[in-house]
Amino acid sequence: MSTLTNLTLKIWRQDGPDAQGRFETHQIPEISDEASFLELLDILNERLIEEGKEAIVFDHDCREGICGTCSLMIDGCAHGPQKGTATCQVHMRVFNSGDEIVVEPWRAAAFPIIKDLMVDRSAFDRIIEAGGYITAPTGGAPDANLIPIPKPVSDAAMDAAACIGCGACVAACPNGAASLFTSAKIAHLNLLPQGQAERYKRAEAMVEKMDEYFGSCTNHGECQAACPKEISIDNIATMNVDYLKSKFKNRKALAR
């Protein structure tokens, strides 16, 4: 255990969606390297409140890297410098004494800023509502072991399903595209036998809903690099294939 000293935080403050934003500078004289990055913000916030100032608004909840609530561009990287790690799991030991750390919200047209570091990611919910499910109303499901699923298939579905919906992929993308998020859900459900009945309808509906809000994918690959769950861009290929097929395979022909 050791202590970091003399950190400078440059933090984005913005009073509301339409207000002018600005950077605010705060000095952190010392902090233990055992502290998480968000605990650093907690400590700063308590100090601000005690000084009679408004606390910095940021989204966070589980602090275990699974709920996907936290965000933050830290030094220009979505979720900070540590690979495969959400902001809430970044600990101060990845920084050095004397560092200047720049903290910004996700920046994407589809994620308007609510206040300070908090953005509105509800466009993701609209994509799921459009088709990110298997229609299986409660009751009447067949026995769970009725359909064996080969382990590699189930594992691949699970790899895609690990997405936490944080939006880092969008924030990291120069086009503000949501292809990694959308494709992860399409791949999760389209790989499984249970998802076959709605496979092409799902791909079509989700992609077209995505296009209403987000930019287009031009294969930069920044999304994969930023993803705290290291979701693969192979899923985007799966999505594109299924979307394309959805356009020329009509449902009746498919039934034959």
Binding site: R63, Q89, S122, G132, T138, P148
Partner: protein
């Protein structure tokens, strides 16, 4: 107002009760369902699955969450798995065995009929979730895999890597999203319920605060379902997410819903020990790790060698030694207290000597690193990110932390609280786990309540309201309660003291952890009962909230939640003081056996304590629901 506790347990032999209930309950016909509006608060496993199913059935549904999206609810953080009596492994499991294990695990303080129903519907849950596309772990033949969990001698736990809660919540969220997309459910996000409105003795609706604008509004409905989770954050440091709170349940309690067994809180044995004073939360390491990890401490309290340098003969594998038949899989309360005894005896490990080792060296030697990585890879990574140590190389350090609360709003067999029309599901109610919850049973209960119980049990209540007018939000009672809520939040802003809500939360947490944590006694509890009101008074005089109340203000949100934790904390201590026995998660040091095990008192305490709010937080009234066991015989819980 006076409360009567009618548990409404159906007629017939235990194993037939649920089927008898279904066969004889009143129904609402499909064309009439659209005439009824149901409000669901919370979108975790219980809330999302209930709201989705109500929507499918044709009710008008409004779902509220204080998160930005329903997918954020804390059910998502459950790691280990979900139990179901499928007996896919052919190892002797059955509905009866799951039922019995749950009652026994709960230390004979749960309602038999509810637990049996839970065990019955557990098998439907797995079918349902697989149909929805939850990618549970599978064997190479393509069939579902199971693992074993604390408190059971069969392998009945289904899992999706170490992210079972995530996959189940996303499954339920997707079903809810489908209903939202179809227009059957209206979703209100970033909206916090701040009060319950009762008119003429029934729940008429709720008052909410829009977290984005600070606006208060009223919502009326035929029935309201609270699925607002547990109150483990009363300890400040817990494995719960930062925003988890008791406000939903507590505000209902203040309006007449009895609060049951508040002292039954669960301390989870496998969390990463606290590293520092400013720590904001503790992180759970799934209990499933105990399948392959061995727990030990050095025999010598003055041990200075690193773990790998300590030879076998200088290690104490205390769980295997004390509980040979269950060993490292002893139930949560039993293994938590054992860890506390070791640390209290000075045998703790780590820089602060506040943990015990959970060692995978043997398992890696036996199964290979690849198998261990397959089973626990993401947990090991998480541990390494937090502590900077790799469990493949050095043993994990773990220590118990507050994790789950068995207590909650009192509900009858239909999951209805003592306020007619107000239902409560999931961790927020008290119903199924008695004094201690077994691992992999929380996900089971949340989904059971939401998918398979409430959709049946809400119908009789609604059927009686058919074609009867219900009060809408123009009723003066709504205006009155909305004004009270508005004034309460204005008051937090107006105090203008010197201390933050987090400061008070930390102080409160310290009192509760010290006197009403893993080990409780009358002196400590008396002390807590005098310290908590004093601190609450200070909160009311010296709280400082900055910012405005017309845009998002997380400091203000926190102030409201901490305010409610004070009163709940007081009730917890009161309940713990009254219950002069040790059972499950409630351990009174005055009541223990010679070798330090919990000593239950079935003659005097085989009841549910259900507390009634009187307006004075220090003087609640206790009501008792006797627990009558038809099938299960009281036995001393032994895992030796």
């Amino acid at each position: 107002m006076s409360i009567t506790l009618d548990s409404k347990i159906p007629e017939g032999p235990l194993a037939d009760k649920w089927q008898n209930y279904i066969a004889n309950q009143k129904l609402v016909n499909p064309a009439n369902k659209r005439k009824f509006k149901i409000i669901v608060i919370g979108t975790g496993l219980a809330g999302a699955s209930a709201a989705a199913t109500f929507g499918e059935l044709g009710y008008q549904v409004e779902a509220f969450t204080f998160h930005d999206s329903p997918r954020r609810a804390h059910s998502i953080a459950a790691q280990g798995g979900i139990n179901a009596a499928k007996n896919y492994q052919g190892d002797g499991d059955s509905v009866h065995r799951l039922f019995y294990d749950t009652v026994k695990g709960g230390d004979f303080r749960a309602r038999e009929a509810n637990v049996h129903r839970l065990a019955e519907v557990s098998v439907d849950i797995i079918d349902q979730m697989v149909a929805q596309g939850v990618p549970f772990a599978r064997e190479y033949g393509g069939l579902l895999d199971n693992r074993s969990f604390g408190g059971a001698q069969v392998s009945r736990t289904f899992y999706a890597r170490g992210q079972t809660g995530q996959q189940l919540l996303i499954g339920a969220y997707q079903q809810l999203a489908r209903q939202i997309g179809l227009g059957n459910v209206k979703l209100w996000n970033r909206m916090e319920m701040v009060d319950v409105v009762t008119i003429d003795g029934r729940c008429a609706g709720i008052v909410t605060r829009d977290l984005m604008t600070g606006e208060f509004s009223s919502h009326s409905a035929h029935a309201v379902v609270l699925a607002t989770g547990g109150y483990g954050n009363v300890f400040y440091l817990s494995t719960n997410a930062m925003a988890c709170n008791v406000t939903g349940a507590w505000r209902a309690h203040r309006r007449g819903a009895a609060f049951a067994n508040p002292c039954y809180t669960q301390i989870h044995p496998t969390c990463i020990p606290q590293a520092d004073d400013f720590q904001s939360k503790l992180t759970l390491m799934s209990e499933s790790l105990r399948n392959d990890g061995r727990i030990w401490v050095p025999k010598n309290p003055d041990e200075t060698r690193s773990a790998d340098q300590i030879p076998e003969e200088d290690r104490d594998y205390y769980l295997e030694r004390i509980y040979p038949s269950f060993g490292n899989l002893a139930p949560r309360d039993v293994s938590s207290r054992a860890a506390k005894r070791m640390v209290d005896a000075g045998q703790g490990v780590g820089p602060l000597k506040n943990g015990v080792y959970l060692d995978f060296a043997d398992a890696i030697g036996r199964l290979g690193k690849d198998v261990i990585e397959e089973r626990y890879g993401n947990l090991f990574e998480m541990y390494e990110r937090i502590t900077g140590e790799s469990p493949y190389v050095v043993p994990m350090r773990i220590y118990p932390a507050s994790h789950y609360t068995m207590g909650g709003l009192w509900v009858d067999y239909e999951l209805q609280t003592t306020i007619p029309g107000l239902f409560c599901a999931g961790e927020a109610n008290f119903s199924d786990h008695g004094a201690n919850r077994l691992g992999a049973s929380a996900l089971m209960q949340g989904l059971s309540d939401g998918y398979f119980v409430l959709p049946y049990t809400i119908a009789p209540y609604l059927a009686d309201l058919l074609n009867k007018p219900i009060p809408d939000t123009s009723h003066p009672e709504f205006a009155k309660i909305q004004q009270e809520a508005t004034d309460r939040f204005k008051q937090y802003m107006a105090i203008g003291g010197t201390k933050t809500p987090d400061h008070f939360h930390r102080e409160l947490g310290r009192i509760i952890w010290d006197y009403c944590g893993m080990d409780r006694n009358a002196n400590g509890l008396e002390k807590a009962l005098s310290e908590i009101p004093a601190l609450h008074e200070e909160f009311k005089k010296d709280l400082k909230v900055t910012g405005s109340d017309t845009s998002i203000n997380q400091t203000l949100e926190k102030a409201g939640r901490v305010d409610d934790f004070f009163e709940l904390g007081l009730l917890m201590c009161k309940d713990a003081l009254n219950r002069e026995e040790s059972c499950g998660g409630h351990f009174r040091s005055e009541h223990q056996t010679d070798d330090g095990e919990a000593l239950r008192n079935d003659d005097d305490f085989a009841y549910v304590s259900a507390w009634e709010w009187t307006g004075d937080p220090s003087n609640p009234v206790e009501h008792k629901e006797p627990l009558e066991y038809e099938v299960v015989k009281f036995a001393t819980r032994s895992y030796k």
